[in-house]
């Protein structure tokens, strides 16, 4: 089996551990305390004066993104069949290919949204950019910088965190798929998930529409100190008013 067949192996060659990657990323408080990367520090610890300006960095990022997109386009064409083969037991659902493609498209859209958001945000300080880039950089980044992934058509693709994220999502989806298939459990619907978060004593915890949860949240925001704005559930009351009823 080559590493194209294994969703847990990053195409760059190293095993991809999404949870570990998440853990490595610092919390907000830790992030603020991160030191500047060495190349951006002067002898007294201040930012290097020669740092490129923000526009240059963004343009470079855009170029990187385009290169990555071109590489991903190649991957996208080869992706479904090869990936689906590994899901042989259990058989893939009819919508799997479409869903997988939709997830990749959604991931791409999300990243574009984040990138575009930079244009409407106030220009970040050089320290902000460098700290963020340093935080995003994985420990093995230096070792992998030279590594290139070759697509089935033989084209070299620059490695990037995005592809790792895509494969991570696919791996997580595959694991969940397998778990739900083997246990025979149905994932909760949107209405159920919302009802799970509603207090069992209130009548709207049995709502069949998501609007109840939404309107309850708005009401709580508008009148945080009101007490008796939501009716009690009759069956909860008759059953003795315990918290165990769901």
């Amino acid at each position: 089996m080559n590493h194209h067949d294994d969703p847990h192996v990053d195409p760059q060659g190293a095993p991809f551990d999404e949870i570990a990657a998440m853990r490595r990323f610092p919390s907000e408080r830790e992030w603020l305390d991160l030191p500047l990367p060495a190349e951006l520090r002067t002898a007294d610890g201040e930012e290097a004066a020669s740092m490129r300006d923000f526009a240059d960095r963004v343009l470079q990022r855009l170029r990187d993104e385009r290169a990555c997109d071109a590489g991903l386009a190649e991957l996208d064409r080869a992706l479904p069949r090869e990936l689906l083969q590994q899901f042989a037991p259990p058989p893939a659902t009819a919508s799997f290919v479409a869903d997988t493609a939709a997830r990749i498209a959604a991931d791409r859209r999300q990243r574009w949204q984040r990138m575009l958001a930079r244009y409407v945000a106030p220009e970040p300080s050089a320290a902000f950019v460098s700290r963020t880039l340093a935080a995003l950089r994985e420990p093995a980044d230096g070792d992998r910088a030279e590594a290139k992934h070759t697509t089935p058509r033989g084209r070299a693709v620059e490695p990037g965190p995005r592809r790792g994220l895509t494969y991570g999502l696919l791996a997580a989806a595959a694991a969940l798929l397998l778990w739900f298939a083997l246990t025979g459990r149905r994932s909760p619907t949107l209405v159920e998930r919302l009802a799970d978060r509603a207090p069992v004593s209130l009548a709207w915890s049995e709502a069949t529409t998501p609007m109840a949860s939404i309107l309850a949240r708005i009401a709580a925001d508008e009148e945080p100190h009101t007490l008796f704005d939501e009716p009690v559930d009759g069956l909860w009351l008759l059953a003795g008013g315990g918290d165990e009823l769901r």
């Binding site: 919508s95 479409a98 869903d99 939709a102 997830r103 959604a106 997580a172 989806a173 969940l176 798929l177 778990w179 739900f180 298939a181 994932s187 909760p188 619907t189 949107l190 209405v191 159920e192 998930r193 919302l194 009802a195 978060r197 207090p199 209130l202 009548a203 709207w204 049995e206 709502a207 069949t208 529409t209 998501p210 609007m211 109840a212 949860s213 939404i214 309107l215 949240r217 708005i218 009401a219 925001d221 009148e223 945080p224 100190h225 009101t226 007490l227 008796f228 704005d229 939501e230 009716p231 009690v232 559930d233 009759g234 069956l235 009351l237 008759l238 059953a239 008013g241 009823l245 769901r246």
Partner: protein
């Protein structure tokens, strides 16, 4: 051709066509009755998992909530009986046969349930796979008394709109206590997972539709953090697209919700908002993106059926009429009168009064200077309960106060417990203290007045920042009357 000659000719032509249809309906009915008998048996045995397993759901969300309701019901007694009968139908909607079912449930030994038993109605849709095979695909509870719905069309002149009557859609009115809206209904496209939830709200402020859509989506996002919110666009209801009525504003916003397990494509929810002054019509279209695309024509037909009924009413009227119709309440300065429940209360002088929309039968808020607040809420008898009584009210109030970190001040002079009034109602006034503040600005001390009658629990609850304000608040509560 005369009518006398036409009738036999028509009958001769149509009878061969209609007779098999009639026989099919009879077969459906017999099959559905067998199914109901089987479901009753599963309910009586408390096997809700088996009950739900009989279904091949078109829209899993509503069935899951039906299961949750059934689980609550079986908690009422280890011994239970249920008899279900078809009270309407079967009707054919799309590829489904639909019946309205009445369930009468008895829980021997329980004296707090009405003598005739607990009565609930539900819609049940089935797919007939053969002469003897009836597969249930949809079930949802429906309030026994239904207003504003006729022929699958939701039409409410006070709320100034109508929608529905579109082939394939089932209109299910929803209880206010469960939707927290003035009026609500869901339109299910039977045989699919496409649903459109319609809710009516009234807000004292006149908020632009795009802002309302963002508020709804923002609240949704806080509950479902994975939801991806779009940008509001300038949607117009098709019926009013050519010439939007003055005062009407509308917007649409798409929110994508990924599925929990990644196995299926997620849910697409599209908020459609129409405002007319403070009146808000909220239409939430939801379903898998692929389903919405596949049934686009039907969905468009549903939105085509939405229209405002009166285009030249004032914005003040547009907001006041639905409140009066659905809650019975009107405000005259700081005085609140409710003609449906015969309630009257004079708010503190100089305080600002406004009616609020939620799950209660009615609710009014008075806002005073220095952040004083007073609410009057009327709660109907909860579903399933025959009447309010002191035991149930105490249980509910105690639980609710505890949940909010509040406790009744036993040392307060004015709490002598419940008092029976000349008209047979019970009243109680007490001071409530904040023991575990939920927020830093939570009021430390509140005044709570309860008035209990079998059909309504009245709660006047408020807090003040000064002694003088609290006196004004107590004086206002003392004016509460049921005429």
């Amino acid at each position: 051709m005369t009518a006398a000659r036409l009738t036999p000719a028509l009958l001769a032509t149509l009878l061969p066509v209609l007779a098999p249809l009639g026989r099919a309906q009879d077969a459906d009915r017999a099959g559905i009755e067998r199914l109901l008998h089987e479901l009753d048996d599963l309910f009586q045995r408390g096997d809700i998992a088996g009950y739900l397993a009989r279904f091949e759901p078109d829209e899993p969300g509503s069935l899951a909530m039906r299961g949750r309701h059934l689980r609550r019901l079986i908690q009422l007694g280890r011994v239970r009986r249920r008899a279900s009968t078809i009270v309407q139908g079967p009707h054919t909607i799309g590829e489904r046969s639909l019946v309205r079912v009445r369930h009468v449930m008895h829980f021997p030994g329980r004296t707090d349930i009405a003598e005739g038993g607990l009565v609930e109605d539900s819609y049940l849709a089935v797919r007939c796979d053969g002469a003897d095979t009836v597969v249930p695909t949809f079930a949802i509870e429906v309030p026994p008394a239904t207003r504003c719905v006729e022929g699958g069309r939701l039409r409410c002149p006070p709320c100034n709109y109508e929608i529905g009557g579109v082939d394939g859609f089932l209109c299910v009115p929803l209880r206010r206590s469960r939707t927290l809206a003035l009026e609500a209904a869901s339109f299910y496209l039977l045989g699919t997972d496409v649903v459109c939830d319609v809710s009516v709200r009234v807000d004292a402020r006149q908020t632009p539709a795009a802002e309302v859509a963002q508020q709804l989506a923002g609240a949704f996002h806080r509950i479902e953090p994975d939801a991806r919110i779009g940008v509001p666009d300038r949607w117009r209801p098709p019926m009013h697209a050519a010439s939007p009525p003055p005062g009407m504003d509308s917007a649409r916003l798409v929110v994508e919700v990924p599925s929990a397990d990644g196995r299926e494509s997620g849910c697409r929810t599209i908020f459609h908002v129409v405002t007319f002054g403070g009146l808000q019509h909220l239409l939430l279209l939801r379903g898998r993106a692929s389903s919405l695309a596949r049934h686009r024509d039907r969905v468009e037909a549903l939105f085509q059926s939405y229209m405002l009924l009166e285009l030249d009413c004032s914005e003040a009227q547009a907001a006041a009429r639905p409140l009066r119709h659905h809650t019975g309440g009107v405000l005259d300065g700081t005085t609140y009168r409710n003609e449906l429940f015969d309630v009257e209360m004079h708010g503190p002088d100089g305080w600002h009064a406004e009616q609020r929309v939620g799950g209660a039968a009615f609710r009014v808020r008075w806002t005073g200077p220095k952040h004083g607040q007073l609410w009057l809420s009327g709660l109907r008898v909860p579903d399933g309960v025959p009447a309010w009584n002191r035991r149930l009210a105490d249980r509910w109030i105690a639980h609710h106060l505890r949940k909010h970190g509040l406790a009744i001040d036993d040392d307060a002079e004015d709490d002598g417990g419940w008092h029976e009034q000349a008209d047979g109602s019970l009243t109680r006034t007490c001071v409530v203290l904040q023991e575990h503040p939920e927020r830093p600005d939570s009021p430390a001390r509140r005044v709570l007045h309860l008035a209990l009658r079998p059909d309504l629990l009245l709660l006047a609850d408020g807090y003040a920042r000064t002694d003088r304000q609290e006196r004004a608040l107590r004086a206002a509560i003392a004016t509460l009357r049921r005429r």
